[in-house]
């Protein structure tokens, strides 16, 4: 076990960048989960399924338009919108009747939805995995410090801050954002100042699910699109939301950074046990800050 010689500074930086691009996906997905949890108080286990559907939709739309660059960009926009549409139907048809139920009930309900989504995906796309190549300008690698670094991951590195900025603007500068923050603090009072909470909840739910779909669409070219991708991501997303602080969107950013980086650096340090690192960090964070790093309201 002589790993000190195998770690070079360049290798470390490269793993760091890989970790950051993974963080982008984790952040996008878990910020959506966190939003829904914080404002609607729904622990949406089916969030990961929407991510999976986003990835499959991205694949199908992009092949429909000839699998070229235009197809891909169209798919990255349309797939999350498709997921948003599905979630709108779910909210108006199902969730809006359940807001007053206790958490356990909601948990079971979304769990059932997750199973339904999985079967639906199996029926629509079959059980084979799919793969999608990135658009032409993002294919291949660039050399960073003498090490090859995939262009698509660089693109993800750029996409993360853009989404974070967009979310910041939405939450702090728009009416719906301010109302959502208020609803996370005191839902009844939002009704009592004359705001129809029901449409606020619908919009927040749709925005949160859109983010799941966006994460799925963006991740599609980097990995195989498979049946099982829903439960890996939902585990990770829940852990991120928990260490970041339940319901805090910026906590999701912090959690995603911690989770993504320890994951990728761990691979470098101790490849056989790399999977342990992010979970170990979660445990350590929770020992010192049982309620997560940031406060639940923001």
């Amino acid at each position: 076990m002589d790993f000190s010689t195998t770690i070079t500074l360049n290798g470390l930086i490269q793993q760091f960048l890989v970790g950051l691009s993974r963080t982008t996906i984790l952040f996008i997905v878990s910020s959506g989960l966190s939003l829904v949890l914080g404002v609607l108080r729904i622990p949406n286990v089916a969030h990961g399924s929407l991510y999976m559907i986003g990835a499959f939709l991205c694949y199908s739309i992009s092949t429909l338009f000839g699998a070229g660059s235009t197809g891909f960009w169209l798919a990255v926009i349309l797939a999350p919108l498709g997921v948003a549409l599905i979630s709108l139907a779910a909210e108006r048809g199902l969730f809006c009747h359940l807001y007053d139920r206790e958490h356990l009930m909601l948990l079971l309900f979304t769990f059932a939805l997750m199973l339904l989504c999985r079967d639906a995906v199996k029926i629509i796309w079959g059980s084979n995995y799919r793969s999608l190549s990135p658009p032409e300008i993002l294919q291949g690698s660039l050399s960073i410090l003498g090490m090859p670094f995939p262009k698509y991951n660089l693109f993800l590195l750029g996409a993360g801050p853009v989404v974070a900025l967009g979310l910041w603007f939405l939450i702090h500068r728009t009416k719906i954002g301010k109302i959502s923050r208020a609803a996370a603090v005191d839902r009844d009072m939002v009704g009592a100042v004359g705001i129809n909470v029901s449409w606020v909840f619908a919009s927040v739910f749709v925005i949160g699910c859109f983010l799941a779909g966006l994460g799925g669409a963006l991740v599609a070219p980097t990995q195989n699109i498979t049946q099982g991708m829903d439960h890996t991501i939902i585990m990770e997303a829940f852990l991120i939301v928990i260490i970041g602080g339940l319901g805090n969107v910026w906590g999701a950013l912090l959690g995603a950074l911690i989770f993504g980086l320890t994951d990728s650096i761990g691979i470098l340090v101790w490849p056989q046990f790399s999977i342990v690192f992010p979970y170990a960090v979660v445990v350590i964070v929770l020992i010192f800050r049982p309620k997560g790093l940031l406060k639940a309201t923001w």
């Binding site: 009416k175 301010k178 109302i179 923050r181 208020a182 603090v185 005191d186 009844d188 009072m189 939002v190 009704g191 009592a192 100042v193 004359g194 705001i195 129809n196 909470v197 406060k295 309201t297 923001w298």
Partner: protein
């Protein structure tokens, strides 16, 4: 303006209001006094649609609003400033005030909204320098002002204040009461719930006394203030006085 007929309210089978009927006319300040647990907050929550386990009729501006949702009632102009203020703590004073105006903001631009906040802050000089401060970090008195301000932002026809003096130092209580007096002079219709019976009775036109879920006395505030039983039980006077 507001009329309530034999209102009963329940908490899991426990009856908190036992047939309450009362009325508030346009331009009046009516106070509702009573000790802890009499059901004052419950009554306000019933009126504003927050407490739904109830029977009886509620009429507001000639409409039967017994089944109306809280936000619909605010649209009609019925606004409650809750006990304990219930501000949106992590948000700034300005954002809290804006929340009160969002129901009208369909017709309002951002600039108009800011002007509206400016206009409101003229009323509360103490808040002027605290626009960007988080509401949760304000003093109790300042929080109460923001809570009243948030209520006023939705341009109410009837303002229901639930114990605005709760937990405040005597000097601050005076300040809050003078704000209420100012609103009264401007012609606001107010339903004021208070445990501070003397303060409430000395500024209101009429008053009701609520005891364990029943209205046991009502009339002109000046009459109630002179009443022996009220003086003994609620104004802290001894038998001799």
């Amino acid at each position: 303006m507001l009329r309530i007929e034999s209102l009963c309210a329940y908490y899991r089978g426990n009856q908190a209001l036992k047939g309450v009927s009362l009325e508030v006319q346009q331009g009046e300040v009516v106070s509702l006094i009573g000790s802890n647990g009499a059901g004052k907050t419950t009554l306000l929550n019933c009126i504003s649609g927050l407490h739904t386990d109830r029977t009886g009729e509620i009429w507001f501006r000639e409409k039967d609003v017994s089944r109306a949702q809280p936000h619909d009632l605010v649209m009609l102009g019925l606004v409650q400033v809750p006990e304990n203020r219930q501000l949106f703590g992590p948000m700034t004073v300005e954002e809290n005030l804006q929340m009160g105006a969002y129901l009208r903001s369909g017709k309002m631009t951002g600039v108009m909204l800011r002007k509206e906040v400016d206009r409101l802050l003229e009323r509360f000089p103490a808040l002027r320098s605290r626009r960007k401060q988080r509401a949760g970090t304000l003093s109790g008195g300042e929080q109460q002002m923001v809570a009243i301000g948030r209520g006023l932002m939705s341009d109410p026809r009837l303002l229901m204040l639930d114990e605005p003096s709760l937990g405040l130092a005597p000097m601050i209580v005076q300040e809050i009461f003078s704000i209420i007096k100012q609103l009264q002079r401007e012609g606001c219709t107010i339903l004021l719930v208070e445990q501070n019976a003397l303060g409430a009775l000395s500024l209101s036109d009429r008053a009701y006394l609520l005891e364990t879920g029943r209205l046991t006395m009502s009339g002109q505030s000046s009459t109630l203030i002179a009443d022996k039983r009220i003086r003994r039980a609620y104004l802290g006077h001894d038998l001799e006085t």
